[in-house]
């Protein structure tokens, strides 16, 4: 069957960058209450060019279906490649579908985008923590505890 292609099954069974990140600059969690999925992204950043930030390390953890797990794994690989916060902020739903190899049914879009929402929430925290110019690691160990039921 098409949805459970090798790429997705591989990332589901061997998720990349899975685990805990020591001393992260920002952590954010996103849950999909209706299916019990949870994804938490932790990132480390450092200044890049003028006013820029770059992700230097990323880890994620969570529980979910094959699609959301593979999406988180693929996304974590992707941001290691592109690394610039500004570019990562521009990743959209369609990019997630492409990353998963296309052909995601409407009902599973939420699964595909859950990790992206968590990651972008983490990036948002960097900004609210006024970290856009210079990360101050000792002040940013907060974990997003809130649950958003979308």
């Amino acid at each position: 069957m098409n949805l459970y292609r090798d790429l997705i099954i591989d990332h589901y069974q061997n998720p990349r960058n899975f685990g805990e990140l020591k001393n992260p600059d920002a952590v954010a969690r996103e849950t999909n209450a209706s299916c019990g999925d949870m994804v938490e992204f932790a990132i480390k950043v450092k200044p890049f060019a003028i006013n820029g930030l770059r992700i230097t390390d990323v880890k994620w953890r969570g529980v979910g279906c094959a699609i959301s797990t593979a999406a988180a794994s693929l996304l974590s690989e992707k941001i290691r490649q592109i690394s610039q916060i500004r570019q990562i902020s521009q990743i959209r739903q369609n990019d997630m579908i492409d990353l998963l190899g296309g052909d995601i049914s409407h009902a599973r879009i939420k699964c595909a985008t859950l990790p992206l929402v968590a990651l972008q929430k983490a990036i948002g925290k960097l900004e609210t923590n006024k970290l856009t110019n210079l990360p101050a690691r000792n002040t940013t160990h907060s974990v997003a505890g809130g649950q958003t039921n979308k």
């Binding site: 949805l3 099954i9 209706s34 299916c35 019990g36």
Partner: protein
Amino acid sequence: MIDKSTHKKFNEIKQDFPILKRRVNGKQLVYLDSAATSQKPQQVIDALVDYYQNHNANIHRGVHTLGDESTKLYEQARKTVADFIGAGDPEELIFVRNTTEAINLVAYSWGRDNIKEGDEILLTEMEHHSNIIPWQLVAARQKAKLKYVNVDREGEIDLQDFLRKLSPRTKIVAVTHVNNFLGTINPIKEIAEIIRNQKTEIRKQKSENNKRLRPSSFGLRPLFLVDGAQAVPHMPVNVKDLGCDFYAFSGHKMYGPMGIGCLWGKRGILEAMPPFLTGGGMINTVSFKETTFTDLPDKFEAGTPDVAGAVGLAAAVKYLKNIGMENVRKHEMELTEYAIDKLCKGLAFAGQRPGLIIQIFGPADVEQRGGLIAFTVKVNGKEIHAHDVAQILDSQGVAVRSGHHCVMPMHTKLGLAATARVSFGIYNTKEDIDKLVSALKKVPQIFR
């Protein structure tokens, strides 16, 4: 057991449902999601078409022929449905959109007038969200307390706990007749019997200075609302016999159209309640200052109702009556027993692929459960998410529900995030279950 001629009838029922001829993902559709919504027989579809082609007009308004026909059809539909649930008086049957709206009607209209600070609303842990949230809001608004009766791991209401939690402060008890996740058929008559012997204390403010409500006397027993969404389509239901005060159900789960549902309530209680929604069709006189309302059932049916929906629902009731609800129940019990057997024994113990384990929830005895089975799937010890299971089944043309089925608190209590659920209707056959089982064998092929 069902006799042979009835068996034959059940094998022919599929022919009445045009959608079941469809192919999905290249496979013949096997529809196992009737608890979410049932499919519609040609007879119901024809009734809708006939209404719009030949009789459509607004009701209770003009004097023209179509208006007259439409009004008659609507009121006939009310009588047909009222008879079906043993209501006797058709005016006690209010047409609403669905079960959710029916429960909201009671929670808002009756609840806001009758539930006071410190009062208690008693629910069970297995309620559908639609029988929790309206009460949560009323409780918060009226500063009342919500209590939940324990449900044990087999999915049955703990009646001892019910007795403990029912108190003189309990103003209303709201319980589902058949649960849509565990499948449990609840002992509604027994619960009604317990409630009948319970008195509610009437509390009044002692004085202007002392605003605290104090018990002053004992009044009526608490009211009893039953959510019948998963019962009316699947077994004989007689509201008088059950001994409840309100009974709520949906048309779309009983082979009728979407957008029509019913609230049955006892006349005296309904008459004492203020209207829920207000507007046209439910007034005697309106001046700029005030309005007098009509009698039952119009008082609760503001605005143009879903006349076609009511007509379609009546057609569905006639269809079900023709089969006989006793037969429907027996047929679905047979399917449930067969499915439990196949899922538990066929796959978990003697399955072709070791490592595929199906865990099912709810009462083990099919006498105690309706025609639905929620389950989780494990492959080599690892749980496969319900959405993935449902998606793989869909690839084989088998439609099942996945998620928490709007019964999130009970899922949480059992430590589950989501389950897959198969639910049966009159059109399902043992062959459908065989197809489900062979589709399930695809799961370990994909998640090796």
